[in-house]
């Protein structure tokens, strides 16, 4: 299997404390990987180090690339949703084409096509010409997801992309990620909603205090013992005709 993301012994230190502790991970085409773990488990640090945005030890095939090649290999949607100026939605999404444009170039027809695909996927047609900073938080998040989609890279990494979205938009977004993976790309996305993670990810990686403690199919990762130990959580999990159903029930803290 050719891995689109290959991490080997990746560690990140804040001071002397490891926040990512010797994580190895390979993600191949067709996979939609959900990165789960409680607050402070190291999800964001792992993603940022894998992209080379954070000083780290160990290897990441993406971080090893020069900046320009990296931007054509992996798209990144950070957790902080920042749109500084009143640029219209279409122009924000078109920023995703930055790595593909020739020097000083304008958008070519293929770039416009990629922007249109991303707009359709995130159902943003009616927002196209509105200033992005006039939209609501959830709408801005959808614009920024579309921006990452427009980059059309083999690997898409997103840090809590569905936080703050309405339930329908959350499901739509996870379905979009699933479809992208099914097209032969790879998606790595950190999530707090374990129910959506169980239903829409092909694979889950569970982080606890910087270490990857479980890796596999959602049913195999979300065991009662691990949920109790890592999340301090008791939950209901079952397979139904409507697919896997996961519902957290009570906190064990």
């Amino acid at each position: 299997m050719t891995a689109l993301l290959a991490l080997h012994d990746l560690s990140v230190h804040r001071g002397s404390r490891p926040v990512v502790d010797h994580v190895s991970l390979r993600v191949g085409p067709g996979e939609c990987v959900g990165l789960i773990g409680p607050n402070g488990a190291g999800k964001t640090s792992l993603l940022r180090a894998a992209l080379g945005l954070l000083a780290h030890q160990g290897q990441s095939n993406i971080a090893d690339l020069p900046a320009h090649a990296r931007a054509r290999q992996a798209a990144w949607m950070p957790q902080s949703r920042e749109i500084a100026w009143g640029i219209d939605v279409e122009a924000v999404i078109a920023l995703g084409r930055t790595p593909w444009l020739p020097r000083g170039g304008r958008l070519r027809p293929e770039d416009r096509a990629a922007v249109d695909r991303a707009i359709r996927r995130m159902k943003l047609e009616s927002f196209r010409h509105r200033p992005a900073n006039h939209l609501s938080g959830g709408e801005q998040a959808r614009v920024l997801i579309a921006r990452a989609l427009a980059q059309e890279t083999p690997l898409l990494m997103a840090d809590e992309p569905i936080a703050g979205l309405d339930p329908a938009a959350q499901i739509t977004t996870m379905e979009v990620f699933g479809r992208i993976a099914a097209e032969g790309k790879a998606v790595v996305v950190s999530l707090h909603d374990l129910g959506l993670a169980a239903r829409h990810c092909t694979r889950l990686v569970m982080l606890d205090r910087g270490r990857a403690v479980a890796d596999g199919a959602p049913g195999a990762v979300l065991t009662p013992e691990r949920l109790e130990e890592v999340f301090a959580l008791r939950a209901f999990y079952s397979r139904s005709a409507d697919g896997p159903i996961f519902q957290p029930l009570e906190s064990l803290r």
Binding site: L51, A75, I83, A84, I87, Q151
Partner: protein, 327 residues
């Protein structure tokens, strides 16, 4: 947008022409221009070539520099309150100029003052880079800039404080108000190469500044090398602002107000704003320099004063108009 750039270009051309034609010597339009182009041996050729032409050229150079650097600084910091003086270059250039005036060096030869100003501006930038480092965060850059401005300001006050000579003191105070009067082509040739270098460097930043709209992390993941962008920005801003301050003194508000006015007209795109602000800055400084000559022709009204008098109310008006957006 499509009509903005031609309009601004037209504005620069028209005001440049007006700047050439306005002055105390009462000469007709055609006579003035023919005296500029053909050396007809009359004093008018001297007036046009040695007094009015450098003044108009410097207005364009200084205005374009301040406007463009302001747009770049606001784009980099994603803050509409940023201005090119933020990194401490104008304050350190002013310090050099004041030292040259105080020591009498300025009277020794024409370029003594601007060269000293450029020298201290360079020292200021080196100190900034040493403090904020080429890899420093944007906040470190601002804080280092403020510290350098404060230090240069304190030293400047010290020079004034200890000045035994009231004439030198008044000369310093008037110089600090900023002006384009009585400059020669020598000043143009001093400022032009540095300014052009800075403009070319700033012009390369468009794509990176656009990407920075999404924040530093997202921009880096889009392939933008932030370290290089920051270094280019600092060196380019230092070149253009250092050169502008060295030949014209401290002229505020251009770098703050011009990008702010033009931003809505370019769809808020930082890359487009760079070039629009260069032209807009030239328009504003040319207009203010013409106003200086028309309002009180015999009182030597200073450009920096008029600029602040135009700029501050304009800024107040903008804040009044956009205050709902910040709420």
């Amino acid at each position: 947008m499509s009509r903005l750039m031609p309009l601004l270009t037209l504005g620069v051309a028209a005001l440049f022409l007006a700047s050439l034609l306005i002055g105390p010597a009462p000469v007709g339009v055609l006579d003035s221009l023919s005296a500029l182009i053909l050396d007809d041996g009359t004093p008018m050729t001297l007036v046009m070539r040695e007094i009015r032409l450098p003044r108009a050229l410097l207005a364009v150079i200084v205005g374009a520099s301040l406007g463009m650097a302001g747009a770049a600084m606001q784009g980099y910091l994603r803050n509409p309150l940023a201005e090119p003086g933020l990194i401490g270059v104008s304050a350190s250039a002013a310090l050099g100029a004041v030292i040259a005036l105080q020591t009498g060096l300025a009277a020794a030869f024409t370029l003594a003052l601007p060269l000293t100003a450029l020298g201290t501006a360079l020292l200021g930038v080196l100190l900034l880079l040493a403090l904020a480092g080429p890899r420093g965060a944007s906040l470190t850059l601002i804080l280092a800039g403020i510290a350098i401005s404060a230090l240069a300001g304190a030293l400047l006050s010290l020079v004034l404080n200890l000045s035994p000579n009231p004439f030198a003191t008044s000369e310093i105070v008037f110089w600090m108000m900023g002006s384009l009067a009585d400059r020669s082509m020598t000043h143009v040739w001093l400022a032009l190469p540095l300014s052009v270098l800075g403009w070319l460097m700033l012009a390369t930043l468009g794509r990176g500044l656009d990407a920075l709209t999404l924040g530093e992390d997202a921009a880096q993941a889009l392939g933008i090398r932030l370290t290089r962008l920051r270094l280019t920005l600092v060196i380019a801003t230092a070149s253009v602002v250092g050169a502008a301050t060295a030949v014209a003194g401290a002229i505020g508000f251009v770098g703050l107000v011009v990008p702010h006015i033009l931003r809505p007209l370019v769809g808020a795109r930082p890359s487009r704003l760079l070039f629009a602000s260069a032209l807009g800055g030239a328009v504003l400084v040319l207009a203010a320099d013409i106003a200086v000559r028309l309002i009180l022709p015999d009182r030597d009204l200073k450009l920096g004063v008029v600029m602040a008098l135009i700029g501050a109310p304009l800024f107040l008006h903008l804040i009044y108009k956009t205050r709902k957006e910040f709420a």
